[in-house]
Each structure stands twice: as structure tokens, then as C-alpha cells.
Subunit: 351 residues, 4 copies
């Protein structure tokens, strides 16, 4: 399988289930000598954790960053950096009554088909909880990227049909939905609270902007920078689509509109989203992902049980009515992992 | 690097440049004993070749399938299957005047930034010509999939802003744009011919439908079936976005609308596009890709030369005013490669 | 890097340093449904642990098997199986005086050259302690192999120049050197005790015999069964050579002697060591590895310090005067990992 | 499978069968800008080709180096470098009478067990002919290593039981057995000619010496420099064992003898063979491989046919009575491939 690893030169392997003892990650390829600052990693973990506001799950997952290996006297040694996040505040019993049911929108049915058995507690390995390890590893990659002058920022561009009309980066962490438009943010919150009150959920669109990446980064053909970013983003459970630059709009443009002209100061537009032929142009990398509405809702739904019986199911448990605010740090983390890996792969080029 | 290989258990490695001696592919992992039928592979090559109609490049690339290794007495031996496609009708001189220019929308600038030198002739390795090897390999995968009862069909759903309003599979190969709606097809052709007449180009949306895939296929976490399909599709030069099932529409739906209910006969809707948790549900797999307008246009554009001088460029050469019709077989080929690889990876599961 | 992972379809990733918090392993690719029996894994850990007799280090490393993920209700779920072995009885201070010295025979100098910094405590990542994770993972592979009727047995064939003259499998676990010849075993113990008394050490030869492997297992060309076994064995710190079947003796034989004839009942000899063209013949797989004398000795030796100063060094700490007895379970574990991986890779062949 | 590829950052994929149209190799990861000199590659191919003297097969394989992709204006572009070597002077009919027989010492039986069918002509993919692609790729790696001041030299240390007693590098290419001792060389030739006259064969020991490799090169744990070299060498068909530095002799040494002391000028001995903890020490890398006697002999041997019938077989065809002289360039090529890959992997370390 080895499907639990990501990256070539900066490679992570995640492990753990939602209601097992812990989740975590091994990072293989950390630059030796890098100062490993647990507090720095913790900041990212805290951005991802639930219970941050009225629009996220009330669950009290506090993910304390615990480093098991790879650090000596505060610096990375270049050996595998292992971070464990112990599971807290678990209520497996909350899942007892759906132990043998296939919840609509979840991987219950497909995991059973694939593995022949499954850990049903909180979706087990298929839980969004698995992304905690990604965020921890992403924080390590982010530290390396910052040293290169690269910034990676994602935000909720649209939630429940409400679109942002302005972009102000400093607003993002000031509102519970992580929108870059404070007015839209208020309406998004209202929308989510309303849906939560009727036991329903909504999705949205998260945009990511990468600044400071030099031109010439990205592998050719199959491991293109955008191809790797697409794989990374679609590997996040709730993400159903991705587009770069003009994206699907490009399908309706003419070549003369879409092509980005150049002059001595660089590109005059950025419909390409900062990538040509899978390689960075030096312009900002811009992509958007489509986030589906949270599958766990308390609206009654029709489904079947493992034994084939039909049933009406009402998903209990403490869920996020909209996952966008908590997916923002995951999108950033995966982008950081892809970038650091591609930058390291490029380093080989002229070695 | 190793970025020229794709797949784990059914693995291809492509090679060759647009105006070099040949392009081709090595397929490592062909099931031994498989009958290798060159005519069968040739059919797919012919679907991809230019010069098929008024809406494709007049270039006369006839890709004769030439098998160099891996076959004995008409059957695959399980050793590397090597297919070479010699380049014909090349006119490198057509590129002499842009040898030191960066064509807008092309990888000229980024390849120079990455490699420090480049084969400018017809975009060299960055040319769509590279996909010929993918299509040849995809035909081998398709043969294996057919034996499993799986069909993979793509078509032009939208071109130049003209959307299809009906779907009839048998129409697809009957019109030059490979649309599934004969009425829309005619309007798409008119649109492309008009743009070609003014030296401009357009893009479109290609949809792919996979039927007959059993439930339970797809790796977890990072190598999810949709994640691998996304990587595969975005690795195609002109593709700028991908969405599965409801895709970006899902961002505007509520959980109660988006979740696909089940009864004893299966799923009652397919907003998920046949994939849950990265694993096939048994429903049709449905995804769409956004294709950008062809970058090579004869409309004057502003750009710079390698030496930094600004210039107005007019791309000559024989290009496709819309690449959608020829991307259809490439999308199918990449989908076949992903599926066969994932099916083989699943075969290990209970070994 | 990703040099901390081994295997393709049954893939392990080890982590941890000798004097860090813990060492451990993630196993990706465990057959779902496999009963995971901690006691079974513990038996292998105990065979590897020091302090078993007068001929091994008095260190009291008791490696309690602690499973963090991948198991539900006693069975493997097919998700990453994570096993942690916490470090106990550590005495880092014992290494303080060699903190800036390069111990002869150790990786101190090369790690500093490679990484630019190092965790000097007990060799850090370069310690034999890292093999604890391999043995834990190997026990999981061994369980799967037993279900296939495959047995993997290694033993000390020669120690300190003393060769075995008989082979009795049941003797192996009855003597502290894990020899298959009880008479030789006694002499080996005496030899080791004598060397220990003068602060010196010795090496030996460990042979491994694999029974019950079906013919046809092993990949071709670069991933041959013997090539993978060679990589696996040489990756064990103290191993300096490996030979299969007749091995180096084959260099002195004629083809008419070395070729193994066949009749209807199979092969009439086994100079090939059970492998032809990198693929199993169905005969026993037999190979031997050369184990160097333990590098840590209390005999004074000439070396240099990080600052270039020369010094006479006397390695303190509690070390094994001969590592062969404790390498036996490591050799078996690595062989089990290679076999299970190759068997799973073969399972894909006709899928 | 993907077992036909070797290396991570400097990665080759070989293809082709002994009596198919061609054999060849794709090199992915060639440093862009490298001058590709076909004559330079041809020199290595000529060292490997048969028909060089009375002690090698009279077969007239002249391997003309034909480059299909990856080069533009005489320089590597960084895209896949494809080299094809067309098969010449094939006499498949020479194998007709053994089409359904399992030749002792060959992979006939194991390939049939693994694949269920086989190309019997000259061993098909299992033929030593496959190494032609390795040698071509190795020549490209060698060019890069030379620019780094690294030399890789192998020679026949022992043949048919006759050992060299002196070492003179310039002698190696002056005698048909590639020995470094002219006196021993003469006796080796006599020995081979005698065995050839009676239709038998012999093996030998090939030693490889690598000079100029900086300290600190080599991955840790599983991808150690010696582990990768071991895998590379054992992947050569006729090689049955490998040892580094003191090798199997180390098993009989005491720690106080085996450890290499250091002073300010470096290591005072080299029992380690230039590698500690899997990483280069800066001393010469020295290893030896055991080469089995050629399996194809005309002495009658007992074997079975595919249908199970016993038969007495006499292998016809034009074979090397001793493969050592022609394995020397293959050993060097594989060493060059491992070194360039490990050097490139190290380049990432501090990126």
C-alpha cells in the first residue's frame, strides 16, 4: 500500500485513527540543523483544532505536539522527525448505534468493501482527524519555506453560497470562518449557525495564495507542481475539485485573453495561476478547492446496514456544520509539503 | 527527477521530444499472457492524431505503433513493453524565429528557468506530443480493463462557451469535436472555425465517465482514487482544473442535498461522482476537467526574449484552435492507467 | 531522503534514536483481518534484547511492544500499524566524554560529515537499537509467512573463528550464541568470554535458511529476490558481506559442478541457494552474512576529535563482545520483510 | 512491478530481450547541460561486447550507441535520455531444441513459474544481454563522476581458482581477462581456454575500487551506500556474493584489529572498505563480488522439460567460458549508477 506516505525528498508518513490512542506523523527529510520549535508547530495545530467558535465542532481536541524522535538539542538531526498527537475527549460510545450502518457521504461503505472490516469509531482512519499529522508536518515545511521567503495563505472565499467581495489578508484570522472579507464573514457565520440549528451543513470554496516562490520550481510531465498540488488537495477528505488561476473560467476564454503577456518587469496578468508547463513562473501561485458540505448531519437520511437492511439514519456526535474554517490550515499544510518537496527535488537538478 | 514515470504496479515511463527522433513509452507491469494487438493500440493513437478534421491541426503526424520489447508470440511476457512512435512531418525551421523568445502561455520561460537550456523546437519535451506515449500505454491498460468489464468514455461537454444539453454516447465519435450532443457539436465546430479564421483559440470542458468499476477500489489517505485521477489529469498540459461528481457545485449544496442516500439496490444519487473516502462506491465515476484555450495563436502578443528584450510575437506553426477533441483520448488513457494501477494495488490487499 | 523506509507492498518506516524517547516502526500494508498478537511480537523482541547471557551486553533494554494504531478488536485493519518501543535504562552521561570524539569503527565521523551535526548518545540513529523496530515489523511479516507455510531460521555458523561442524535446528535457542552445534557453541562462548575479559570483541558468520517458499517468487532485473535480501542484510550495521548458496566458493567451481541438475522430483543439489535469475526455485533459500567484530572495545585506540586533535580513546559503556547472537533475530526479521513484500508483489502479477 | 528501474534521483529503466529487436535504457535525471559524447559511451559498450578475444563468446554483438531522446545540440536537456542498442547477429534457431527445456543454472524454470510463459530465445529478458543498457547508462553516470574527480575501476582478482598476487591498474585493459596482474592473467587465460576445450566453464572474483569520493556520501538505515551497492551487484545475473573491505575475513578478526584508527591525516587502515554506517569515509571504497561459472556448458547435464519429462541436455550456442572479463564493465557501470544517485540524494540534504 504505502498510500500513507506523501512526498519524495521531504516525505511524510501519517498514522492513527480517530478513536485510537493517537494520530501522528513521521517526517523523513528535514534539513539537519533546522531549529524545531514546538510552539511554532503548536500554533498550526491550534488553528486546525475544533471548538474554536460557534461554527466548529464543540469537540475538545487539544492537540499537544509531542516530538518522539529526530531532534537533538533543539535542532533537527536529519533523522526521522516523529510527532505524536494523543487522542483526547473521545466518545466511541457515541458511534455504537451506527456501528453496522453505512452513513451517507462517509467512507463507511467503501472501507468495508475494500478492507472487509473497519474501525467504525469516528470513521477510524478515514476521519478528518488524520489531517492533524499533516498539519504538524506542514508546520515543519512552512518553517523551511519561510526561510526561503515563501508565504502560503489560504482562506474561505465562499461559504454556503456567500461569496467574498474583498480580500484583506489580515482579516482572515480575525473571524471564525477564516474569510478575507469581514462583511461576508458575518453573513457566512449567520448562514452556518442557521444550518446548524436545523441539523444541516454546507460547503464552500477555499482559495490558497503562495507568494515568493522563485521561477523554475516544479517537476515536468507527471510530477508537475500543479499535478502534485492537485493530488495533495484532493487527498483531503472533503475536497471535490480544484482549479488553478482562471481555472474553469479558462474553458470560456480565448487564447488571446487567457495567455499572460510578459514584459521586462514580468507577467502582466496571471490567468495561469503562477504555473506554466507544471513549473513555477515566479508569479503568485493561486488555486481554489471545492469543499463539500459536512456529511454528518442530524437530518434523517435513508441508508442501509452491513446486513443489507434499509434504515433511516440520524448522525449523532459533535460535528462541524461547515468544515471550511478548519480545512484552511490543512490546505496550507499540504501546499507547504508539496512546495518543500519540489524545491528539494529541484536542488538535485544542477548538483 | 523520475518525474517521467507514472503508476506503481502498472507503471509507465514516457520519453521523447516533439521534434526529436521519436516519442514513446515503457510499460512495466503488463499482465503476462495478455494478447497485445497493435491494431487495437493503433485505434487509440489515431483518435489522438492531428489532421482529423477542420478543427484540428493540419499537421500529418501518423503515429505508427512500433513495439520494441515485451511481447513474444503475440503475448505480453510481463517484461517491459516498449512502444516507439517515430516523429514524422517535422518542421523545426518553423520554430527558428522564436528560438530565443518566450511564447505566452507556453513553458518556454519556465523550462529555461528550471533547466538553464531548452529544446525550443515545438516545445520539446513540454509539447502535447509527449501524450502520444500515454495514449499508447493507456490502450494496453484499457484492454485489461475491458476484460474486467470496465468502460472509460470521455467527451467534450463544453467548447468555447457552448454547452451540451444532451448526452448520447454513440454520437461522440461521429462529430469532429467529440461532443455527445450532435446539435451542440455543430455549433462548437462553427465557433472553433470562426476563432481559427481570426487566429485565435478557445478551451472547453471534457467530462469522463467510468462504468463497471467494482466498489472498494482506491487507496486510502494520499493515493485516493480521486487524488490519483486529479494528479493524472492536471499533468496533462492544457488542463487547469478538475472536479468530481457535483464538484464545485457541491460548495453551494447542503449536506442533506449532497449526501447520496442508499437503499438495497445501491446509491439513489451520485453527487459523490462514484468515490467516497477515495475509494470507488460501485456507482459510475464521473469527473470533468477544464481545458484552457490553445496557447499558440497568431494574434500578436507582447512578450520578452531570453536576453530580456521586449517583442511582439505572432506564433506560426500548425496548431489546434481547440485542443478538446484531441484531449479526449488522452483523458481516457490517463484514467485507464490510474484504474489499472489501483486495481492491481488492491489485488495485493488480501494476498 | 526516505531512506528510513523499506519494502514496496509491505512497507516499513522506522524511527528513533538510541537515547531518545523511543524507537519504533510503522508497517504499511498489513493484510487486513490478520490477528495481531502482541505476545507473538514480544517473543521476537525478547530474542533481540541485550542482557540475555554472559555473552551479551548487560544493558537492561526490555522492549515492551506498544501498539499505537492499525489494530481494531485484535485484528489489523489494513491501516498503518504503529509499534513504539520506549527507551529504558539509558545512560547518556556514559557518552559525555566521547561527545566530540570519533570512535573507530563507528559512524561518528561519517554522520558528522553527512549531517553537519549528530546525536552522539549511544550512536543516536546509527545505533543497533534502530533494529528493534525492524524486529517488531518482522514479527508481523513472520506471522503472515507462517500462514503460507514458510519458515525463516538463522543461526551463528561461525564465531571468533570457531566453525560449527553440525546442524541441529532445535539447538539454536538452547545456547547463548544461537549456534546449531552444541559443542561449537560452548567453545564460542569461551572465546567470547575470553575476549570480553581483555576488553576486545569478535565477529562471526550467520547463516539463514528459508523453507517452504514456493517457486516463482522474486522480481526480475533490479529487484531480484537475492538483490533485495542483499540490500536488506547489508543495511544491518555490522554486516560486511553476504553470499548465496555456494557463494564465494562458486568462484572456484566449474559450471558442471555448480549447475544444479533437475529431475522429476526437483533439484538434485542447491548450489544456487534456492534462487535462479533472482526468482525462487522452490528449494531452500540459503545465505550467509559476515558480521564484523563489535566496534566498541575498551582496548585503547588512536583516533581524532571533531576539532582535529588526536587522542587515545577507550570506549566505555555496556557493549556486546560479539553481536552475532543478537543479529540472528534481526537477520530473520529482514528476511521476513523481504519475503512478504516480494510475495505481495507477485500477487499482482496475474491480477 | 517497476522492477526494471534502478535509482531515485539518477534513475534508469532498462528494457528489451536477448533476441528481440533491441535492448536499451532510459536515464531520468541527467544533469542538464552535460555534454553527451556518444564515442565516450561507445567505449564502455565495446568493453562489454563479446568476441573480444579467445576467452569470450565469439558472438558478434556490436552495440552501436543510438540516442533517441534527451539531447539537444550535443547537451543533455534534463529530459529522459533514451539509448537503444539494436540486437544483431541473432540466431534464435540455435535455441529451438531447448525451447521447452529448463537449462540447469539458468532462469528458464523460475521464469516459467513466475510468469506462466517465457521468451526462451537466449534467455529473453533474463539474458546478460540486458546489462548492455546498464553499461550505456553507467557511462553517462561515469562522465558526471569524472567531473567530480571520482574514478571507478574493477578487475578480475581471481579466475578459475587462480589468484592475482600483484595489482597494476594499467595492466587491466592490456590482457583479455582484465586482471591487474599480468602473470596471473596468462595463467587465467590458459585455464579458461582449457575449460572451453572440454566444454566447461569457470567463475571468479571481481574487485572494484572507487577513488575520490568525498566523505559523507550515502543514505542512512536502509539505503546505505553499501546496501545499495550490494543490491546493484547481486542484481547482476552471475553474481552470488559481495563483501566490503575485509569482508568475510572480518568475521575472524578482533575489534582491535578490524577497527580503522584515525589520525590527523585520516584513516590508518581501511578494513571498513571506505564505508562506516553506510556512509563514505573518504577512503577508497573497496568491494569484491563472487561470479559463478557460466551456466551454459556443452557438458551433458540432467534436467527436465516443461512437460516434466527428464532429459539429458547439452547447451549449444556461443557462450563465454568465463564471464568475469565482461562483467568488469558491468560492475563498474552499476557502481557508477549507485554513486551518482547517492551523490544527488546527498545534494538535497542541505538544500
Amino acid at each position: 500500500m504505502a498510500a500513507n506516505s506523501f512526498g519524495e525528498r521531504f516525505r511524510i508518513t501519517t498514522f492513527g485513527e480517530s478513536h485510537g490512542e493517537a494520530v501522528g506523523v513521521i517526517v523523513d527529510g528535514v534539513t539537519p540543523g533546522l531549529e524545531i520549535d514546538e510552539a511554532y508547530i503548536q500554533i498550526q495545530m491550534d488553528r486546525r483544532k475544533p471548538g474554536q467558535s460557534s461554527v466548529t465542532s464543540p469537540r475538545k481536541e487539544y492537540d499537544h505536539v509531542h516530538i518522539v524522535s529526530g531532534v537533538y538539542e533543539g535542532r533537527a538531526t536529519g533523522t526521522p522527525l516523529t510527532i505524536i498527537l494523543y487522542n483526547k475527549d473521545m466518545r466511541p460510545e457515541a458511534y455504537d448505534d451506527i456501528k453496522h450502518s453505512y452513513r451517507p457521504g462517509h467512507a463507511d461503505y467503501t472501507y468495508m468493501q475494500k478492507y472487509g472490516l473497519r474501525d467504525h469509531r469516528g470513521s477510524g482512519r478515514a476521519s478528518g482527524r488524520e489531517t492533524a499529522g499533516r498539519v504538524a508536518a506542514g508546520a515543519v515545511a512552512r518553517k523551511l519555506l519561510e526561510q526561503r521567503g515563501i508565504s502560503v495563505v489560504a482562506y474561505s472565499k465562499e461559504i454556503g453560497g456567500i461569496e467574498s467581495t474583498s480580500f484583506s489578508e489580515e482579516e482572515i484570522e480575525r473571524n471564525p470562518v477564516r474569510a478575507a472579507d469581514p462583511i461576508a464573514a458575518m453573513r457566512m457565520v449567520e448562514r452556518i449557525e442557521h444550518l446548524a440549528s436545523i441539523g444541516d451543513s454546507c460547503g464552500g470554496i477555499v482559495e490558497c495564495r503562495i507568494r515568493g516562490l522563485a521561477p523554475g520550481i516544479g517537476e515536468p510531465v507527471f510530477d508537475k507542481l500543479d499535478a502534485e498540488l492537485a493530488r495533495a488537495m484532493i487527498s483531503i477528505g472533503a475536497v471535490k475539485g480544484i482549479e488553478f488561476g482562471a481555472g474553469f473560467e479558462a474553458a470560456r476564454m480565448q487564447g488571446s485573453e487567457h495567455n499572460d503577456p510578459m514584459n521586462t518587469s514580468g507577467f502582466l496578468s496571471n490567468h495561469a495561476g503562477g504555473i506554466l508547463g507544471g513549473i513555477s513562473t515566479g508569479a503568485d501561485i493561486i488555486f481554489r478547492v471545492a469543499v463539500k458540505p459536512t456529511s454528518s448531519i442530524s437530518v434523517p437520511q435513508q441508508t442501509v446496514r452491513e446486513n443489507g437492511e434499509e434504515q433511516i439514519i440520524v448522525t449523532k456526535g459533535r460535528h462541524d456544520p461547515c468544515i471550511c474554517p478548519r480545512i484552511v490550515p490543512v490546505v496550507e499544510a499540504m501546499a507547504c509539503l508539496v512546495l518543500e518537496d519540489q524545491i528539494k527535488r529541484q536542488a538535485v537538478m544542477h548538483a
